[in-house]
């Protein structure tokens, strides 16, 4: 069949692909937020100068337009391995340099141009085994991953649409528009089993179908990029590292549901993402891949950017719509669902950034391709932001159903500083804590839900033995309490009171009856709240009460913080086995709280002790411990 639009795309692809063969090598410097903060832009400049000094420097444009040969130095999106930034990746060798400084540039370029061995001191070295890895895909952090939606992040130049097109970009959109009916597109997405990556896990295909079947000439597609979960930054990486993929996903959705206008709602804290998106939208317009009559197919789609203004609750879809409309971002009851009455009362499809990132892949390669990853009910891959007390922090993408253990110990490299694993907080303020007993739990929507947690947007914060779970619950409650919009009573007043109860636990003023009160209140808030934020706000508390109840009871009944974090509950005690009875401590105590017989273990009177810590430093035997 004659398909001029696809022919055009493929012609570009071939032309540029050929041109790229003139590229001798490519140096990709990570320009994700993490690496930029660590000085990657200076590294980029230094590398560029070094290549220029050797007369090898070319730009991608020079290669494409004049078929010049040489080495390119490109700013890429996030590689995910933020812990080791600034990161520099070499193509085609696949070598990854970590913690690169501008002064390393000469050495790197020298080795590259002379086809020498990689600079060993900049390669990743396993913190335990000491093994050195030259290639990125050999590093354990990457080896266990399956990068599909993040495929381009860190590999292509996000500011150059031609690189996206060379890598089959926009072919899915043209395929959908020219060879499929909207119904077929919805069906394909449904068959793939893709579920909303923003938290709830609602089947994406059904959401599309609901929007498609609504009558009406005007519909909207919204991309929810209001990534507010503390500890999650996959949307940011996707928007910064591969913006065209999101645009393509949205355009396909537009075609499928019958919308000609889309909005991307981006958090105010992500200026770079906004910049890249603006750039990408302009470039897509230039090539006729957005706007009126896309590549002559008759399909129209425009995308606008809306910047958030700092409200976590705007991640909730009805609140997000209110915010785009210029109102206070307060959720409204559902039904009506946005698919029926969304932006300005029109049928609206809202999906999260990562969900859209999967769309083009599914349409181009088919539902079956997608289903080969992940589990039966949670197919595909999922990105996680793994942070906290883990050796390797960063952004990862793994097949659904991978065990928590693999993520924490294989990819994450285990706990820092040889400490013991205690818990993983997953799903941010809407999620819960999982413990050692869950390490072999499969990471998919349903398994996590049954354990009381939630995938959420995929924040995964690893905690070690020094973490107080009551304090963590308080932290999350403080967060939701601050971010509650204040509309419905259970969330507004309930989170405030849960925080009050948790606060007094960490302040050493907890009451035994709080255990029951907290549980009761948390369940009522979960049942009674208006929107998802309120309904899931008690999750961190409920999982804490479920898995770390002893720790809470220790706080409110015994007035102790087992992890030794809560300063109001901190106390000093003398380990009898280590005390030689020298009495130095008793003499150093300003309030005479320590007493004992010489040569026998001394004790501290907790009522008198003012927790000044003077005794600790005077003890020659380190027999005085905090806890």
């Amino acid at each position: 069949m004659n398909n001029p639009a696809l022919d055009q795309l493929k012609q570009w692809q071939q032309q540029w692909q050929q041109a790229f063969q003139k590229e001798k090598a490519r140096i990709l410097v990570c320009a994700g937020t993490g690496c930029v903060a660590n000085g990657s832009l200076q590294v980029y400049q230094a590398l560029k100068q070094e290549v220029e000094a050797r007369g090898e420097f070319v730009t991608v444009d020079l290669i494409l337009e004049e078929e010049k040969s040489g080495v390119t130095v490109v700013k890429s999106g996030c590689h995910g391995f933020c812990e080791k930034g600034p990161l520099v990746r070499l193509e085609p060798s696949g070598v990854l340099y970590t913690k690169v400084k501008p002064e390393d540039a000469a050495e790197i370029v020298e080795a590259l141009i002379n086809n020498g061995e990689p600079v060993e001191r900049l390669l990743y070295r396993h913190p335990v085994t000491g093994e050195v890895f030259a290639q990125e895909n050999q590093i354990p952090f990457y080896r266990h991953q399956k990068r599909t939606s993040l495929l381009h992040c860190g590999v292509i130049d996000p500011e150059n649409i031609r690189e996206y097109i060379v890598d089959d970009g926009y072919q899915a959109l043209i395929k959908a528009v020219t060879t499929m009916t909207p119904e077929e597109v919805c069906r394909e997405i449904l068959d793939s089993g893709l579920r909303g990556r923003g938290g709830g896990g609602f089947p994406t295909g059904r959401k599309w179908e609901f929007t498609r079947i609504e009558e009406g000439p005007k519909k909207y597609v919204i991309c929810n990029g209001d990534e507010g979960d503390p500890g999650a930054f996959m949307d940011r990486s996707l928007l910064e590292g591969d913006p065209h993929r999101i645009l393509e996903g949205m355009a396909i959705a537009g075609y499928a549901v019958g919308a000609d206008e889309g909005y991307i709602y981006v958090r105010a804290e992500y200026p770079l993402a906004v910049e890249r998106l603006k750039n990408a939208i302009a470039a897509a317009h230039e090539y006729g891949l957005l706007g009126q009559n896309i590549l002559g197919t008759g399909f129209n789609f425009e995308i606008k950017i809306k910047e958030g203004a700092g409200a976590f609750v705007c991640g909730e879809e009805t609140a997000l719509i209110a915010s785009i409309e210029g109102k206070r971002g307060m959720p409204s009851p559902k039904p009506p669902f946005p698919a029926q009455s969304g932006l300005w009362g029109k049928p609206t499809l809202i999906n999260n950034v990562e969900t859209f990132a999967n769309v083009a892949l599914i349409i181009r390669q088919g539902a079956d391709w997608f289903r080969q990853f992940g589990t039966e009910k949670s197919p595909g891959t999922k990105t996680f932001a793994i942070t906290g007390q883990v050796a390797n922090t960063g952004l990862i993408e793994v097949p659904m159903g991978i065990t928590l253990r693999d993520v924490v110990f294989e990819i994450g490299g285990g706990i820092r500083d040889g400490k013991k694993f205690k818990a993983v907080q997953i799903g941010g303020p809407s999620g819960g804590c999982l413990t050692e007993e869950h390490l072999d739990l499969k990471l998919d929507y349903d398994s996590l839900l049954s354990a009381g947690a939630m995938i959420g947007s995929g924040g995964l914060v690893v905690m070690d033995e020094d973490t107080c779970m009551v304090e963590v619950a308080r932290f999350f409650m403080n967060f939701t309490q601050n971010e509650s919009c204040g509309k419905c009573v259970p969330c507004r007043e309930g989170t405030k009171r849960m925080l009050e109860i948790l606060q007094r636990a960490v302040d050493g003023e907890g009451r035994p009856e709080d255990v029951e009160l907290l549980q009761d209140l948390a369940e009522a808030v979960r049942d009674g709240s208006l929107c998802g934020l309120g309904k899931t706000a008690p999750n961190p508390v409920l999982t804490m009460l479920k898995y770390f109840k002893d720790e809470y009871i220790a706080h409110v009944v015994d007035k102790k913080c087992p992890a030794g974090v809560c300063s109001a509950l901190k106390g000093y005690y003398i380990v009898p086995e280590e005390c030689k009875g020298c009495s130095k401590c008793a003499r150093s105590c300003p309030v005479q709280a320590i007493s004992g017989e010489i040569k026998k273990p001394f004790t501290i009177d907790q009522d008198k002790c003012i927790k000044c810590g003077a005794c600790v430093s005077t003890c020659p035997f380190k027999a005085i411990k905090e806890g």
């Binding site: 409200a311 206070r328 307060m330 409204s332 009851p333 559902k334 039904p335 309490q481 601050n482 971010e483 509650s484 919009c485 204040g486 509309k487 419905c488 009573v489 259970p490 507004r492 007043e493 309930g494 989170t495 405030k496 009171r497 009050e500 009160l517 009761d520 209140l521 369940e523 009522a524 808030v525 049942d527 009674g528 709240s529 208006l530």
Partner: protein
């Protein structure tokens, strides 16, 4: 087996008949689910979570926002539902100033009622930590943020029904509050004192300002002759406070109660309303004949008048210059009746019993005074009168009826129907034909203008001329009408506006009622009273005729204007300092100020300002001009307004800018 088009509620099969929500459905089968934020006349909010039900397979849902779907299995009182409701109440009470005994709404508070109904006896959480100051700035209302439960009813009432939006949420989460803009006091913002916020408030967070103490003081002051006037709408509502059905006409008992309370004379505002009809109709006929300032708007409603003063400066001259019946009454008492009695204005204390909170504001306006003494000394609402009756221990329903005193006691049906929306228009229509032609007309009832539709219209023929009448109630409806008027989409000759939905019978000073039926019953009572009146046209009121003979000469005479008419103030102004754009460095200089306040801005004054800047640069006089952008020059009627030195020039639209600049500014520098 459940029927196809039915749901199961607490085990009972309930057929569906197009109900929009489960809440609506449960009410039909005799289950009263508790609510704070649900009002049928306001938009859905879904925030209080009191009306939740448990739906099989879907969990806990708010019944107000969930439509029933055939086959649903609904539990309205399951343990989970109970826990949510009790927790909500407990949480609200914990954060609530629980000084119930001294609260104005003690006994009529929904929070108190529901806490009682659900047996909440213990609050397991801490006390409210923040004690915010009361806002007592308004002459009509008192706001107590410590009692607010953030249901948003007042916010939606003010913006959706009244189209004003004086109140809104600010802040978020547990620090969210409902306040006027910038946390200002009510008296500082564009509040029209209609009090509808207080009428929907489920607690004591916004209440009518209680001034019964002042009434007692006056009654107990032997120096004062205390007279009281009773507005029409009071007589069909006061009974509700004492267990009588809404709409029951209790005029005689009201009079009796007032006399027992110690008022020296009890008069009827309806008489002043008749006077208003005569004055307003004559004014209208005059405008009609001259073809100027049409459409004419009614001016009896102080809420509407203040709204117009804030928002519709260009239409102020269209308002009838007639004072409201309350103020006509006060003025006649203090200016003429007092003289006849040989008393000074300050010797007579005039009290009004009104369904309205805005009347309190109106009575305090500086123009409504005689020799510096207010024409109306005190306005009490129906609610406050009920409180006085209770305090005095009067058994209202057992009172023997009494009649109004003379001379201000003779009433017609025309004056009485002022109490319902459409009443003023109907009363004017009853008079207009006769006043123009001198011939009485048969028609008394103009039913097109009655009822609760958002806008009512009628066309009548007077002396061969077609007169188009429109009636709106609720200021959002007025706003919509004015918009269409400005856009030239509609044409009317006379427009009645009442701020409160339903007219005065729906005033915020009336007994608190959450049932939409109440207003309908009260309106029925009003029209019933009209039907029972011996005389139903204002022009037939013999006392009014006598007043003209004795005091006022004839309608719209100089004397009538002195006593019965008024003028309006433009209140549209942005508070803010003017912004200096150019600063003169020369001795020879001109001050130029361009208004960028609401009216002027919307007519392009900012472009005028820019043109001035360009002109100044082109003429190289930027150092000889002090150029300001200012926020109001009070020339809104012919905006944009510009002030050059001390001269105000109106109508300086951008295309006029160049000319005005040359003629008025440059000429001064030559």
């Amino acid at each position: 087996m459940a029927e196809k088009n039915s749901v199961l509620i607490d085990g009972q099969v309930v057929p569906l008949n197009g109900e929009k929500s489960i809440l609506e459905l449960t009410r039909k089968i005799g289950i009263e689910l508790p609510t704070f934020c649900y009002h049928s006349e306001l938009s859905l909010y879904g925030a209080c979570r009191m009306c939740v039900v448990e739906i099989e397979g879907r969990g806990i849902m708010a019944s107000c926002s969930t439509p029933p779907v055939p086959g649903m299995k609904i539990l309205t009182n399951s343990p989970r539902v109970q826990r949510v409701r009790r927790t909500v109440l407990e949480l609200l009470l914990a954060n609530h100033d629980r000084e119930c005994t001294t609260c104005d709404r003690n006994g009529t508070c929904k929070l108190q009622d529901l806490a009682n109904r659900f047996g909440v006896k213990k609050i397991r959480f801490g006390e409210r930590d923040l004690k915010l100051p009361l806002d007592t700035s308004s002459p009509s209302l008192v706001r107590d943020p410590n009692k607010c439960i953030l249901c948003g009813d007042c916010v939606r009432m003010c913006s959706e029904v009244q189209g004003i939006g004086v109140l809104d949420f600010n802040g978020r989460g547990s620090s969210a509050q409902v306040t006027p803009a910038f946390n200002k006091d009510l008296a500082e913002v564009d509040c029209v004192n209609c009090g509808q916020c207080s009428a929907v408030c489920p607690t004591g967070a916004i209440v009518v300002k209680d001034e019964t103490d002042r009434a007692w003081a006056a009654i107990n002051n032997p120096e004062k002759l205390v007279v009281v006037q009773v507005a029409p709408a009071v007589r069909v509502a006061l009974g509700e406070e004492f267990g009588l059905p809404a709409g029951e006409l209790v005029t005689g008992k009201v009079v009796a109660a007032l006399k027992r309370l110690g008022f020296d004379k009890v008069f009827d505002t309806s008489l002043a309303a008749d006077l208003t009809v005569i004055e307003e109709t004559n004014e209208f006929i005059d405008r009609l004949q001259k073809g100027e300032r049409l459409p004419q708007f009614t001016s009896c409603c102080p809420g509407w008048v203040k709204y117009a003063e804030h928002n519709e400066a260009e239409y102020l001259k269209h308002l009838s210059s007639c004072r409201s019946p309350q103020q006509m009454f006060g003025s006649l008492v203090k200016k003429h009746w007092a003289t006849e009695l040989g008393k000074k204005p300050e010797d007579i204390f005039v009290v009004s019993i009104m369904p309205c909170t805005a009347k309190k504001y109106e009575a305090g306006l500086p123009q409504f005074t005689t020799d510096g003494v207010p024409d109306v000394d005190l306005v009490l609402t129906t609610q406050e009168l009920a409180r006085m009756i209770r305090e005095a221990g009067l058994l209202f329903d057992q009172l023997e009826v009494e009649s109004f005193d003379t001379p201000f006691g003779f009433t017609t049906g025309a004056g009485v129907i002022f109490g319902a929306t459409g009443g003023v228009a109907e009363a004017v229509l009853r008079a207009a034909h006769e006043l123009v032609t001198g011939e009485p007309i048969e028609q008394v009832n103009f039913t097109e203008v009655r009822g609760f539709d958002h806008r009512k219209e009628a066309t009548v023929e007077i002396a061969g001329q077609e007169i188009k009448v429109a009636v709106v109630h609720g200021l959002a409806n007025a706003k919509a009408l004015l918009k269409e008027l400005k856009e030239g989409k509609v044409h009317y000759d006379i427009i009645e506006v009442m701020a409160c939905p339903g007219g005065c019978i729906g005033g915020a000073g009336q007994p608190i009622s959450t049932s939409p039926e109440t207003k309908k019953e009260r309106a029925k009572g009003i029209y019933n009273a009209d039907k029972l009146s011996q005389i139903r046209k204002a022009q037939d009121n013999p006392v009014v005729t006598k007043f003209y003979e004795r005091w006022l000469e004839k309608p719209n005479s100089h004397a009538a204007h002195e006593a019965l008419h008024t003028a309006y103030v433009n209140r549209s102004r942005i508070n803010g300092e003017q912004i200096q754009l150019l600063t003169s460095k020369q001795k020879e200089q001109v001050d130029v100020a361009v208004c960028v306040g609401t009216c002027c801005y919307l007519k392009g004054s900012y472009d005028t300002l820019n043109k001035f800047m360009q002109q100044a640069e082109a003429a190289k006089v930027t150092d000889k001009i002090n150029l300001y952008a200012t926020f109001c020059l009070e020339g809104c009627e012919q905006s944009p307004a510009v002030k050059v030195n001390n001269q105000i020039i109106n109508g300086v639209t951008p295309d006029q800018a160049e000319k005005v600049f040359k003629e008025k500014v440059l000429s001064k520098l030559e």
